[in-house]
């Protein structure tokens, strides 16, 4: 019995250490397929749980983060739309649509406006509140006449090729906005001016800032952070 116990201790110590070492590796080949399988399974579960009626509700008196709202972009400097170089900023809506759109900021502001105070959930673990004003992506899809082929939407911006693609269901959620206003003012360059995608239903990295293109697609095409290993779905 003593021998059994000792052998067991040795084996268990070795196997626990072994699994720990394997787990410490950034990309252990043996477990990666298992992790990928779990991610696919989780995505199915998340899509199954997702409801258009499940809203992020923030109390009317809840304070917004204001100046503390974190600023973030992947370019070395704050991306600013250069009108002299690129002409007037436009939002191009294309892909699986009957009427491709090319909207100036004025055009965008003429579409039905929604103002909502919601949380911003960062993948890092913090959340921050702001009041966003803008156009529902679902309204934009209706204006452009998205077809049945539109199963995914890619949101791309002028921040060093940043883009993230979404599943149609999340994009059509009533709280998913193309936002041009934040806390009652037009967006500042630090927060994605002239317009950005904002929704509480996806983690921050899915919400493309400095938006220029909305492309409805039959297949998904990854994204800036999704391609680097973050979950493509990134839902909340």
């Amino acid at each position: 019995m003593t021998l059994d116990r000792r052998r067991f201790l040795r084996i268990s110590a070795a196997s626990i250490t072994g699994s720990l070492l394997a787990a410490c590796d950034k990309n252990p080949k043996s477990v990666q397929p298992l992790l990928n399988l779990a991610e696919r399974g989780n995505q199915r579960v998340e899509e199954g749980l997702f409801r258009h009626t499940a809203m992020n509700l923030v109390g009317a008196n809840a304070p917004v983060a204001g100046r503390s709202f974190p600023k973030y972009f992947v370019s070395p400097r704050v991306p600013v739309w250069d009108t002299a170089l690129n002409g007037v900023w436009r939002l191009e809506v294309s892909g699986a649509v009957r009427r491709p759109l090319s909207l100036t900021l004025d055009d965008l502001m003429k579409l039905p406006r929604v103002t909502q105070k919601v949380d911003h959930f960062c993948v890092e673990g913090w959340n921050a509140r702001a009041t966003w004003s803008g156009v529902r992506v679902s309204d934009l899809a209706r204006a452009a006449g998205a077809t049945d082929d539109a199963q995914y939407v890619d949101f791309a911006g002028f921040d060093k090729g940043y883009h993230e693609s979404w599943d149609m269901k999340s994009a059509m959620h009533p709280q998913t906005l193309i936002a041009y206003g934040m806390d009652g003012y037009l967006l500042t360059p630090a927060h994605g001016a002239p317009a950005r995608l904002h929704s509480p239903v996806k983690l921050g990295y899915k919400n493309t800032k400095y938006l220029t293109r909305v492309v409805f697609m039959p297949v998904r095409n990854g994204g800036y952070w999704s391609d680097q290993g973050y979950e493509w779905y990134g839902g909340t």
Partner: protein, 245 residues
């Protein structure tokens, strides 16, 4: 004379060791996720409840390598933890073993007696059944913390889709804090548990592997406190069993 009894059903032994793996994976990857923003305050706010606000956990204690990797580990291992936990709790419920860990009247008094014994304020080991009262409360607290961890975990995994879980903990920030706190408490209990196994009742290792336990070597029979073997030969036990080295 060995008095062998079958102490742990194979379901309990299996789920115990699967749980060891699941908790290590979950806690390790969870701490790596925490390190991406090792604070509980929202931007622009403070969080006085955490004295180590902004201080990361040593990377050597974490799993996953980076935030995205740790998230993959966390969201994969969570199924192992939940499936295993449900198997354990279901077994406990249907097989009656819940009686071994659910607190009952008199446990508080027994726990005080155990404490007195451990602190040398009492000479003889209090009489006990399968577990002593302190042990029992720890084994009861662990699955309770597990349930809190799962609920608060759902609350911060899906704060919009499963908003009602988030509301259960007031909001996202507090759910995240509860999730962390429950993890820390669970790890603390697990550490104390392992410490007590090796210093008080190493014979229980056999019971959680093969299921067999030698009652003649129970802490009660040996009058064992932590590091009993360091403190010299224990006095003869009330059960009349000869003291064991």
């Amino acid at each position: 004379m060995a008095v062998l009894v079958k102490r742990n059903h194979w379901v309990v032994r299996l789920t115990h060791w699967v749980n060891v793996v699941a908790v290590i994976l979950m806690a390790g990857s969870g701490m790596r996720i925490f390190n991406a923003h090792p604070a509980f305050a929202r931007p622009g706010e403070t969080f006085p409840l955490n004295p180590w606000e902004g201080k990361a956990i040593p990377a050597s204690l974490t799993l996953g390598g980076w935030l995205a990797g740790a998230r993959h580990w966390h969201f994969a291992a969570m199924w192992l933890l939940v499936a295993n936990g449900l198997l354990y709790l279901g077994f406990l419920f249907f097989h009656g073993e819940w009686r071994d860990i659910v607190p009952r009247r008199g446990d508080a008094r027994d726990a005080v007696e155990m404490l007195k014994f451990y602190l040398f304020a009492r000479r003889d080991h209090p009489h006990q059944g399968k577990h002593n009262a302190l042990q029992k409360s720890a084994y009861f607290a662990m699955p309770v913390l597990g349930v809190v961890l799962v609920l608060s975990g759902l609350a911060i995994w899906k704060p919009v889709t499963l908003w009602f879980f988030t509301a259960l903990f007031v909001n996202y920030k507090w759910a995240r804090f509860v999730h962390f706190l429950a993890m820390a408490l669970l790890l603390l209990l697990a550490l104390v548990h392992v410490f007590m196994v090796f210093t008080v009742d190493p014979y229980s290792l056999r019971a959680i592997i093969t299921g067999w336990y030698d009652r003649a070597r129970s802490p009660e029979a040996r009058n064992a406190r932590p590091f009993y073997h360091v403190f010299g030969a224990p006095p003869s036990s009330p059960s009349g069993e000869p003291p064991r080295p």
